[in-house]
Amino acid sequence: MITFMNNSDSEEEPCNERTSLMSAESPPVPSYQDGLQASEAGEAQAHRKRRAGSSRGPNNLAGGEMSGSRVPVRESALENEEEELTLKYGAKHVIMLFVPVTLCMIVVVATIKSVRFYTEKNGQLIYTPFSEDTPSVGQRLLNSVLNTIIMISVIIVMTVFLVLLYKYRCYKFIHGWLILSSLMLLFLFTYIYLGEVLKTYNVAMDYPTLFIVIWNFGAVGMICIHWKGPLQLQQAYLIMISALMALVFIKYLPEWSAWVILGAISIYDLMAVLCPKGPLRMLVETAQERNEPIFPALIYSSAMMWTVGMAKPDTARGPSQQTWDAAEDGREHLRSPSHAESQMSERRSPVPTRPVTSLEELEEEERGVKLGLGDFIFYSVLVGKAAATASGDWNTTLACFVAILIGLCLTLLLLAVFKKALPALPISITFGLIFYFSTDNLVRPFMDTLASHQLYI
């Protein structure tokens, strides 16, 4: 159920958003309202854990293996603790996603507010050919709807193409495509961004320095995203490329088209992820059947799969000792080459990490949630557009920000209830759009009037 972010080959190619949330072995967190079903949920959860090992596919091959081997050990010790832990994990996952989403939005809003380049109108993408410069409202609306239709069709075509490629195992083509796109993002867009930032602050930089900076930034980024790298560096790079892509959208999408596109994308996301024949759903199911992870370059992963290796044998005996052995076994199974995270375990093994003293810590580190980069991009587009165009300035931006976070929270809650890949865009974007328009048109005059008289409510 993931749509892919087609990191574009050309500057004007749009992103196919990858727009869903998948829980990497997220434990079934019963809904908070479900007090009565908690006991059944606990039971079911234990059963699910047992079955989890074989059937977890794309999220983490590693995680699946791990849990499979560890479950018999764990069952006896942990069933009681699991429920409380799962709840803490539920909240922890939310925070693990709040932070990167917030960071991405902060980068985008800071850039929009300071670098004027991204708010200047300098033409449009070829995917939105209809101009919005017409005086009549009806014509403008029509043009934006047409732009949206074209954009969404392009995205659908790209997604279907990608799914077909994946289905027919044209991995090389897909990898080449992704590498080309991230090359473009990491080098060309970064160059443009850096150039504009330097222009804004009137800082002179010579070309050799620029070359070295961009080269290092881009090369390390390519390595981190497509190969191995420290998790946090990889996350940072993914956030940065999402922010860059969002800035491109904010610059090149005309006003009304942007809002209509945001609305249409959430509907498309909903359908693509949940309908049985939706391309994203087919993609995820195919990946699950083949027991492969989805391309790491398109997904933000909030946690590592298995930072287990370093249990000091002399601390917690028994379970953790056994899990450590199980971890060793688990790691041998990790041979999927394209999986950046799997490589990381091998990198980490020689490094003594913190001693894992209790099983809970093991679990905590193992579980994470994954969010598609397209979600980051469209959240940031919404907030960035609010920052760029709203006359209510900061109030609108902040309202959209809170709305998106709450939407994300609700989506994660649903994820915990349904335990399958879900679209992350619809709820957040809906809240975001509602809050944008209402804050800009209703709240802004009210707060402005109050502020001019220095009244506080």
């Binding site: 007090g35 803490k88 909240a91 922890k92 409510i457």
Partner: protein
């Protein structure tokens, strides 16, 4: 004007809030979620109030002080209503969490949630009131050039700080009153909020508005401290590090 005013006023307005968040909320995921949820509820109340004001202005065809007064009062009442809704939701969540945990106690107590939700109301309310003013303060300009008070920024910052703290205290008192079905507490919170908002109508006569508001903040703080279970003896015990 300039960076000094901007940073100074921002620190005055949000210093206590930032300290409270960093020290008590940031480390716990559940509390962060309650923080964001509280902000969302406040935004809903503001939306409703703005809609009301907007409609009334459109209907009456003019924009005058009486409508603004009505709008502000409606905003206060709606905020307290949303605080009540927040209470209901958090209470349900608390019960759910308690049922799910292994020892029957939820990982976060209702009082903690009261505090965090009050803090979130305060932060978002303060932010919405003052962030545009702060943004303007960083730029060029002369304050009060048309005859208004030159102390606009600093008084705004102080009022915001007071408001943040007041919301925190009201959150604690309100939730406690709702829990114990104590109508008096509820009435006093709503009354205090209306009073605070009303006092700001006396701006720029700052002696009459800012002074009493700060005193009110102190009193409400002491009251909230008592409600949360604090007492003179607790303070002594804490200070003597026993």
């Amino acid at each position: 004007m300039g960076a000094a005013v901007f940073f100074g006023c921002a620190a005055i307005a949000f210093g206590p809030a930032a300290a409270l968040v960093l020290l008590t909320v940031a480390a716990e995921p559940l509390r962060v979620i309650v923080l964001v949820a509280g902000a969302f509820f406040w935004l809903l109340s503001l939306l409703a109030a703005s809609l009301l004001w907007f409609v009334s202005v459109q209907l009456s065809g003019r924009e005058d002080a009486a409508l603004l007064l009505l709008g502000a009062a409606a905003a206060v009442l709606l905020q307290e209503l949303c605080r009540f809704a927040c209470f209901k939701l958090l209470k349900k969540a608390d019960e759910g969490l308690a049922t799910l945990s292994e020892d029957g106690r939820s990982p976060i107590s209702l009082q903690q949630m009261a505090y965090v939700s009050g803090l979130s109301f305060g932060i978002i309310s303060g932010v919405f009131s003052v962030v545009n003013i702060l943004a303007d303060s960083a730029g060029p300009g002369t304050v009060g050039i048309h005859g208004d008070s030159p102390y606009y920024f600093i008084t705004s910052a102080l009022l915001t700080m007071a408001l943040v703290l007041l919301h925190t205290f009201w959150g604690v008192i309100f939730f406690d009153a709702c829990e114990r079905r104590h109508a008096g507490g509820l009435g006093l919170v709503v009354g205090g909020h209306l009073l605070t908002s009303g006092l700001t109508f006396l701006n720029p006569w700052y002696e009459a508005s800012l002074g009493p508001i700060l005193i009110l903040t102190l009193c409400t703080g002491l009251w909230a401290f008592g409600t949360a279970g604090g007492s003179y003896r607790n303070v002594l015990k804490c200070l003597s590090c026993k």
